[in-house]
Amino acid sequence: MPDKIYRINMTDLKVTNEEVPEQWKGLGGRGLTSTIVAQEVKPTCHPLGKYNKLVFAPGLLSGTTCANSGRLSAGAKSPLTGGIKECNAGGTAAANFARLGIKVLIIDGLPEKDTFYSLKVDKNGVTIKEETELGGKGNYEVVKNLTEKLGKKIGIISMGPVGEMRLAAANISVRTRDDYIRSLGRGGLGAVMGSKKIKYITIDDSDTPGVPIADPKKFKAAGKIFAKALAEHPVSGGALKNYGTDVLVNILNEAGGLPTKNFRYGKFAGHEKISGETMHDTIAGRSGKVSHGCHTGCVIQCSQVYNDKDQKYMTSGFEYETIWAFGADCCIDDLDVIAQADHLMDDIGVDSIETGVMIGVAMEAGIIPFGDGQGMLGLLKEIGSGTPLGRILGCGAAAVGKAYGITRVPVVKNQGIPAYDPRSVKGIGITYATSPMGADHTAGYTIATNILKVGGFVDPLKKEGQIELSRNLQIATAFIDSTGLCIFVAFPIIDIPAGFTAMVDMVNARFGISLTADDITKLGKQILRTEHEFNLAAGFTNKNDRLPEFFEDPVLPHNAVWDFTDEEIDSFWNF
């Protein structure tokens, strides 16, 4: 059965399906969502208006036996940045869609009636229903309610109350097989879902034949080599499993690149208390799970299950960027308080990076003092209940900076800058400045080369080589984001050439095509250019590819400053 496209029109509440056009056949994940948004969404439209579309696409390898292939992409015009947006997350939904032969789900239009809806996706297609019970409820309750009704195998995509309020930091949740939550986090796509009034989507992939593979023998052989590369590499085979991504706290602190007190300093005195090492021991001592996969087939298992003092579940998928934001950036050196924040944010449905950076700005503004953990939790609750202050906070760091007249606002294209100081880790500054997504570390993760010395070394404090590094990584990442593979496969495939070849072989064997390494680079470039052109058509210029001016001020310990010229930054696009 060939893959299908489903179109859900929320204006007249109708569903249609069609064959995949030739030009979209070789695309998946980000490549597909960005192509569709660029082709079908009016660049100047209001992100919450009738012309925006919310697009969900599994990756090219999703639903197969390939390790770590379960990432789901979502795309739209972003209410936070005003540009194109793709984000991806784990959970079961990508595999569920792929098994149902759904290449992409395109949601457009706006309903007239003031009510919520749900989408039911199964082997018979997609059904739109009015939803009268779960409006206003948090994501955890939505997941609990739906799994009780529909069973433990159901895939769920949902939005929390912040999405319902259409605030620009709202995210979209994806259920994991064990009822935890993963987030399509950045750029406010939850607000787009809120504008379309879709409270949740359930995906039932029972009685489906599974994903067809054009050349099963070749696929299996390549899959083995790929899994072996993941298991053998010290990052994917060990470090991420044991310490999670939070292992980065101590090394960024040591290198002076851990933004502290709203990007004032490069080191945080409380770093050890929020480090991956401390998190590991805390989890182990409270019968949590030190390692956990966000979807079936994840062998790297960077996630974990973090329990409270009474060994009761608090959160999962507790990431470095979240811990950095609430920890170093807000000066809260208490993992339990940050874990409470993480749980609350998953439940109300806000991006934990945007919200953490925003709280740093709120502290700068004097709404609460730096280090005030309980005050921070209080502000998160205000967002969830939609008080007037809560609504401003729920629109992200830039909105709060504006509302309080603050200049130290770490954003690019209105999106909060994550976890790595661009003055002392210069490659990531180029990624923040140029990524069509706004400040996004995953778009071109130069930390690997600048700090971790994986895939070579480019001195983080010098300008030399950073533009090329960021460009190459952004191109490669655009492709990986299209496969459904978790970006952490990049660590082994940078170092182990056979792993890279196996990845390409699997895509070829899945579809009976013959992409080469060159084709992959071409595809990566094409995706980036497509996204860039959408942004230009939406009204962006090269002047939007700039960091805030406070990064001209030196940051300790290196007294590093952001010193790229405009011409240097603009040369990023020479490819």
Binding site: P234, V235, S236, G238, A239, L240, N242, Y243, G244, T245, D246, V247, L248, N250, I251, E254, A255, G256, G276, E277, C302, Y320, H441, T442, Y445, I447, A448, I451, L452, K453, V454, F457, D459, P460, L461, I487, F488, F491, P557, H558
Partner: protein, 72 residues
């Protein structure tokens, strides 16, 4: 002189330790004393700057040794 270890390198060793300074001592020498295999090592930082294993240490240096790490 101070030596700091991180993540898996702490197992069976230590977190942080004063180290007796000997003129001409290199990072490599310390790794050898600590039984740390070079392939385990990711980044080496002295006073917050990346160095190589041949780096010669000074009396007040702080050496930080990290295993191969990832994240993001």
């Amino acid at each position: 002189m101070k030596v700091k270890l991180f993540a898996s390198l702490r197992e069976g060793r230590f977190k942080e330790k004063e180290w007796e300074y000997v003129k001409g001592i290199t990072v490599s020498h310390i790794l050898g004393k600590l039984n740390i295999n070079k392939v385990e090592v990711g980044a080496l930082l002295v006073n917050s700057l990346h160095v190589g294993p041949d780096y010669t240490l000074q009396e007040d240096d702080i050496l930080a040794v990290f295993p191969v790490l990832g994240g993001g």
